[in-house]
Symmetry: C2
Subunit: 79 residues, 2 copies
């Protein structure tokens, strides 16, 4: 079972991407944790370490997939 | 069953994204067609109409999700 972390910051682009990915990813193959970086700021550094540069992004098995472009991680840090 | 179309142009970013998405999407919920715009150039206009601006991108139920940034559609057209 792969581990996925979906990082977002609550922006409209993020919410739309989240709904699709959580709905269409196969729960028997990947377990997805959703992290709202706007409210759980303690996870920002972890996202940065994982290579996340903008949100929404999903990290699966240490590989980062940025989805569309909601906000840069610097914006999330500054907000 | 939703319909997904994964557009790419064979670039390394594309191949990595393709492998993950095809592996982790739930085949009981979404049927994904893979389109290589570098070889199947007749589908470029269709991708443009769907709102694709860069590849790789996956379109699910008419909503476009650009994944990371491999190449712009203009580059694909010009190549």
């Amino acid at each position: 079972m792969a581990k996925g972390v979906f990082y977002h910051a609550g922006c409209p682009v993020c919410v739309e991407a989240e709904q699709v990915f959580l709905e269409y990813l196969d729960p028997t193959k990947v377990a997805v944790e959703v992290v709202h970086l706007g409210t759980d700021r303690s996870r920002i550094e972890e996202a940065e370490q994982a290579g996340v540069k903008s949100v929404p992004a999903i990290v699966i098995n240490q590989v980062v997939y940025h989805i569309n472009y909601g906000a840069s991680l610097d914006d999330v840090k500054g907000s």
